[in-house]
Amino acid sequence: MIGMLKSMATTMKHALDGEKFTVQYPEETPDISPRFRGVHKFSQERCIWCRQCEKVCPNDTIQIVTDDKRNGEQYNLHIGQCIYCRLCEEVCPVDAILLTQNFEFTGDTKDELAYNKEQLKNVPWYKDIDPLAAREPDREAWVGEGEGEVDYQ
């Protein structure tokens, strides 16, 4: 009986203190870590069409089409299929593809979630945070050469 009363006292304490742990989402936006991985942003100016991102992508989310002189024509990314692992950003030597903090995207059909390079370019920053600065420290570990053979390009 005492245990039951203790349980009830505990919940009553919570009911009376008026604290909330949920947020009223559209009005109160959550704080998001600069490392958060959301929708991609693509920069055609930076991209050198090396296709490393396409190659490293674990589930073929990125599709790159180049002409016969290896000039880039299309860069398609299916944000509905993407698993947001950030490997494309990690391998990119020129920061042409970045995962923004933007987690708000919708589409009526799956097709609408297949973004082409224009759409990827226009993905807005979340709260104007450019995540690149926050992510810089780890880049060394990746861009630094390993001992193994380099099997791309």
Binding site: M1, S7, T10, T11, R37, P58, Y84
Partner: protein
């Protein structure tokens, strides 16, 4: 005379706690036709019709009471089943039993009479590879539908072949009403799931009820089978596999799962991990364990309390704090993809002091919250009458079923790979393994709640270490080649202590940059197998409570 009489050595055990494999080979005698070296332990090749003899000898005389996993695979010229054996007392003592069977007649003797857990493992091997186990009590498909054509992991499998299921055969798979002795039986057949509020996902439990009591239950799994093993076989070691372990046990235990893969692959390719990275790994893994146990506690309370009530929400609130920390560290709340072979992806976020403060705040608040949980849950008399002495799993039975993790520790089995088969930085830290002797639902809850406290201890020590780490020695990754191609035909089986128990990974390399066979030993899969032992003869609410106390994640059961 000391109180602790030293245990007499098993056959093949040396006084310093290693395995003398020559002695074991002598014990197995005629049954052995060869020997293989795996990275983790040597393995004996045993004739397919002598499997039980070999396993009985190893279990009864050499003390290998723990069948960790059964891996099946197909080579060009043969099928192979590998029984990975360990000891509950000392899981570093390992041995493998390799059973080759010819391609044209893949029949191998079953190991089920020796280890009950082999039942499901062999069904899975039959289902996915196509090996027949002679003498198996119930050799049916386990993950795929019963009408499936072909065995998907076999070499000759044709994925193009249409899977035709005649409507007549599966007009209504849930139809049959009575099970048991004839039409006179007054039992009732009831399907729990696949869409049921308390099955924690898409689990289907076929239950035969005698009034309110359970006469027989059989979990029917496979609704969430996503070919995770095959997906890993198609990814490169270096990059493409690591995102997927997060998705096995997807309820915030991601880094623990990643570590399982990292440990196996690092052993396979002989990669060193810098000490600093090990500390970060240890800390983040324990954060994941707290998050996972909080969820287990919340959903168990949900099952017993019966509504989305306070305990569930409080547990989620606290889990949210952990997830915020993990988001700061890894950039994601559930699908972390944080570990890399040879280290971790990111150092502690700058400013470091702020991050450590965030972690400390959480740890400081934890004792008060634990007290609150004890007030709310464990000291509640109704909760006690519901959970004490229900869902009993005696240690002997638990060992037979290969139970691990909090389920085993709630049955008084003192097994924790973090201590018994050390990896990461656990050996250097001061913490305890929690066991409870109650063997019931209540013990399992207590074990989880106390493990949260132990994890907090570990995290606190890691934070202290990380704070004082000299700045120029903060190496987060060792130098790992961009393309990993381990030597052909290297095999490794390695487990880590994930939130639910031993998560083991078997990898066989074939000289390319992708694994030839990738097998996941899921703790939930084995723990779920014990459900029948726990619930038969008890009431429907006990079935639900026992299921909740097993803390299964269907994503990991079905893989």
């Amino acid at each position: 005379m000391s109180l602790h009489e030293p245990k007499p050595l098993d056959v093949g055990e040396t006084p310093d706690g290693t395995v003398d494999h020559d002695e074991l080979e002598a014990l197995l005698g005629e049954t052995v036709i060869g020997r293989e070296e795996h990275v983790n332990a040597p393995a004996f090749v045993v004739r397919p019709d002598e499997v039980q003899n070999a396993l009985f000898a190893l279990r009864d005389e050499a003390g290998f009471d723990y069948l960790s996993c059964v891996t099946a695979q197909q080579y060009e010229d043969r099928y192979e089943s590998i029984y990975h054996l360990k000891k509950y007392d000392d899981p570093t003592q390992e041995v493998g039993i390799v059973v080759p069977t010819p391609i044209d007649e893949p029949i191998s003797q079953t190991g089920e009479p020796v280890y009950r857990t082999a039942d499901w493992h062999e069904r899975e091997a039959y289902d996915l590879i196509g090996i027949n186990y002679d003498g198996h009590p119930d050799l049916r498909r386990i993950l795929l539908p019963e009408t499936w054509q072909g065995h998907p992991l076999a070499n000759d499998y044709n994925p193009e072949k249409p899977q035709v299921v005649p409507f007549r055969k599966h007009a209504n798979p849930l139809q049959p009403d009575t099970r048991g002795e004839g039409a006179k039986s007054d039992t009732m057949f009831l399907n729990f799931g696949p869409h049921h509020p308390a099955t924690h996902g898409v689990l289907h439990v076929k239950a035969v009820l005698d009034g309110e009591q359970i006469a027989h239950v059989e979990p029917d799994i496979g609704y969430l089978h996503r070919c995770e093993e095959q997906m890993c076989q198609q990814g490169t070691y270096r990059h493409q596999i690591m995102p997927y372990p997060d998705r096995w046990d997807y309820v915030s235990a991601g880094i623990l799962n990643e570590w399982a893969y990292a440990r196996a692959a690092e052993d396979l390719a002989d990669i060193e991990v810098p000490e600093y990275a090990q500390v970060i790994r240890t800390m983040s893994a324990e954060l994941c364990r707290i998050a996972s146990h909080m969820l287990a506690l919340g959903t168990f309370a949900l099952d017993v309390f019966g509504d989305f009530t306070a305990v569930f929400q409080y547990a989620f609130r606290d889990r949210e704090v952990v997830q915020d920390i993990l988001e700061e560290l890894t950039g994601q709340r559930l699908m972390f993809n944080y570990l890399r072979l040879g280290g971790v992806a990111w150092d502690i976020p700058e400013p470091r002091a702020e991050f450590f403060e965030q972690v400390r705040d959480f740890l400081d608040g934890l004792p008060e919250k634990t007290k609150e949980y004890h007030n709310l849950i464990t000291s509640n008399e109704i909760f006690q009458v519901r959970c004490v002495n229900t869902g009993e799993l005696p240690p002997k039975v638990a060992k037979q079923y290969g139970a691990t993790g909090p389920v085993a520790r709630g049955s008084g089995i003192d097994l924790d790979l973090r201590r018994d088969d050390p990896y990461g930085y656990y050996e250097e830290l001061d913490w305890d393994v929690i066991t409870e002797d109650g063997c019931d639902n209540y013990s399992r809850v207590l074990v989880r709640m106390q493990e949260v406290e132990e994890s907090a201890k570990i995290i606190e020590q890691c934070v202290e270490l990380l704070e004082d780490w000299p700045e120029d020695e903060r190496e987060i990754q060792s130098n790992v080649p961009r393309t990993l191609k381990p030597d052909a035909d290297t095999e490794v089986y390695r487990g880590v202590e994930a939130a639910k128990g031993e998560l083991g990974i078997y990898i066989r390399s074939d000289g390319t940059d992708k694994p030839a066979r990738f097998k996941i030993r899921s703790p939930c899969f084995c723990n779920l197998h014990t459900l029948r032992e726990m619930t038969e003869g008890e009431y429907i609410p006990d079935l639900i409570a026992s299921l909740g106390s097993l803390d299964i994640v269907l994503g990991e059961v079905d893989r």
